[in-house]
Amino acid sequence: MKLRRSTRAQSLPIAGLVLLGSVCQPGLAATLVVPTDFATIQAAIDAANAQDVVLVEPGSYVENLNLRANVDVRGREAARTWLEPQDGQLPTVSISGADNLLFANFTLVDALVAVQVVASSSVQIASVVFDGSTAVAITAGINSTVDVTNNVFFANATAVQRSTADIDITNNIFRSNDITITSPLGLINNNINVEANCWSNNTDLLVNGIDTSYGSGAVTGNPQFIDPSARDFHLQQGSPCIDIGVGNDIIDNTIADAGAYGGQLADASPFPVAQPTLTDSSTTAPAATNIDVSWMPNESYLVTNSVLPGGYRVYYKQNTAGPPYDGGDASGGTAPSPIDAGDTTALTLGDLNPVAAFALAPRLLTATGANESVELNWEAVLGVNGYRVGYGINSTDENEVDTGDVTRFTVTGLINGTTYRFSISALTQAIYYVTVTAVDSTQNQNESDFSVEQSIQVGPINESPRSNELTALPEFIQPFPPLPDNGGCFIATAAFGADWAAEVQALRDFRDRFLLNNAAGRWLVAQYYRLSPPLAERLQEREYLKPIVRGLLAPVVALSLFMLASSPLAKAGVVGLLLSLVILIHRRQQRARSQRVSNGS
């Protein structure tokens, strides 16, 4: 393997001297962070000086990059730094006439051509996941020297196309590609400069269903990625691609793993844990406030391992979202955040001391009477979890209803013509914010980023003083002119036996969503309501007709369900199909007509 980086390292002092002698160039390598310092990766590349490093924070980026000589471009974490092309017809990353650079730690998705190298030497492509390139993942032309090290090639049409044997392919995983390695006219031996790679389920290398490989030190077999559908290509325990490479892993200093998470440039951080689940498990006897925290495991062999497991840390705090997670009240104040959970996926934050602030009394703005109801509207109070409405005829203490965190609420079930009194109070309760990290089993105990934060309200509820009091009179408003109301699914209800039958509900939902929001639909519904009551009455008297009507309504119910449940794409597909049928029939009729005319003439 050619070690391009050493070549570059040797040239650094020379370059440094040249730069020191330059008036215009400061000569010190800088790290340009995207998106902190530059909005786009290309903007950072364009602004970089020789020897600078463009460092890209985790996120999804849509760009076509043109790399420049002597400027390295690295993602912070390959697993979470995704790059897809803005113009799908162009390579996602172009390296043309640009020597001495590193492109590493990305996941390249949805590319036609992911990386194209033209006339560039001392290029290193490392710790990159190439997922689903429809033409080729890496194509390198003549007069190029490239190290392709510790990458994952998954489900690409072609993984590597090389026009010169100076493309070294080492420590990579090739899984489910149509073609793994190729060259124009097959002039280059696919075994040359191909070393210590892991091969599985590639179309061009399957012989009678058995995996074969190229190069020396090859290993075959399912690499046991954690979840390719979620683009998590970390290796699980038992993967044949562990400790089979050239060189060492920077993470655990063992023999290098194949793939994007082994070797010298692998992500140090484990993949973050998914958002945890929180459950209030407080008890009354003895009185204790507890929160059960559970989460899905990180399946990487460096975390989930039957011999040498990693672990998890649970971070928590009260009443304010986001880091720093500096809670300190768990286990009666003896278990400050973070808590080492060990090799488990559940932990109880027990014996908490939730403290909720008392809120100021809210201000009730309006109380408006309507039919058997009154609508209340009040000013929001900061930092509350909800509100409580008190109402009654003689006192606002007669009835209570909790509204949740809203500022408008309708009290129902009131007697028309009776004056009611209303007031509200604000409710506060402690909120706990919890997040979990994964910790690997290496000596450094590398820790993942925080999981997505989860929150829960627990502990006693504090009620603020009552607001001002307002009165309102619920009453029926008769619109002018007094017109009859036509409502109900008469025939369907009669046929399916009950107003709440699923079929009736489907028809009602269809009416509400697709018919009542447009004039033509409303007219159609109006016609139905006009004609259906007498028919429904007859149907009720004749049981034997009901199955027939149900059969007749079945396509309508099916159509309703399709319209309610299907995606716009599915709807468009069906419409397209129907249109095609109509056009086909129309053309056939035209053809038959013209044939008749020609026969007649």
Partner: protein, 220 residues
């Protein structure tokens, strides 16, 4: 009701114009025809025949918009359909106190099918009067804030219309083109008055409308 006074006179006038239109069309060459299809965009005012409408909705007229399409059967006769809508915001009656209150939105959307009798002697006639008769059903909705809505439709009713069109432009109406075939398109600005009579539960929801519109005639 205003409409009771409207109908007899209108019918006599419509009948005379219809006969006149038919007679006028006799002179036309059978091979030359106006464009068959047309659409119209129209807007104006609607004056409901409800005595207390102004009390509840603040005015005795409301904005009114419509779309129509028609097909010409003869030079003097076309059939068409029209959908229009009116929306008024006002109050209702608070039943416990009989006072005006609440917030009510009233929508009235008549659907018509109609025949128009057209008095037209020449294809390039600049001013074209017409009368029409039609069948009408209207849907209505009364949306009471917080309380919910009442909706339904009227029984089948009648409509009549009287209007005049002013030729704006055309293509294919020159003598040469006319001798070669039918005109491609013709457009008009028009003024029209309508009387609608539709009832539900013996409540007359009809009224008069006065509209300005644009009409495009074409052969597809």
């Amino acid at each position: 009701m205003k409409s009771a006074f409207f109908w007899p006179g209108f019918c006599v006038f419509a009948l005379s114009l219809m006969i006149a239109g038919q007679v006028a069309a006799q002179g036309e060459s059978a091979s030359i025809e106006s464009p068959r299809w047309s659409y119209e965009i129209r807007g104006g005012n609607y004056h409901p025949d409800l005595d207390l409408f102004e009390t509840f909705y603040g005015d005795n007229k409301e904005d009114y918009f419509g779309l129509a399409g028609s097909y010409r059967l003869k030079e003097w006769l076309e059939i068409g359909g029209e959908y229009s809508q009116m929306r008024a915001k006002g109050v209702g009656i608070l039943t416990s106190t009989q006072a005006l209150g609440g917030s009510v939105t009233y929508r009235f959307n008549p659907v018509q099918i109609y025949s128009n009798f057209i008095f037209q002697r020449r294809l390039s006639q600049r001013v074209v009067p017409y009368v029409g008769l039609g069948l009408t059903v209207a849907e209505y909705e009364q949306d009471v804030e917080i309380q919910g809505s009442i909706d339904g439709h009227t029984d089948l009713g009648y409509s009549a219309r009287l209007g005049v069109r002013f030729l704006v432009g055309s293509k294919g109406l020159t003598a040469t083109a006319a001798s070669a075939g039918n005109p491609d398109w013709r457009s008009y600005i028009f003024l029209e008055a309508q009387q609608i009579s539709v009832e539900v539960d013996d409540i007359e929801l009809g009224g008069q409308s006065y509209m300005l519109g644009f009409r495009m005639e074409f052969n597809p």
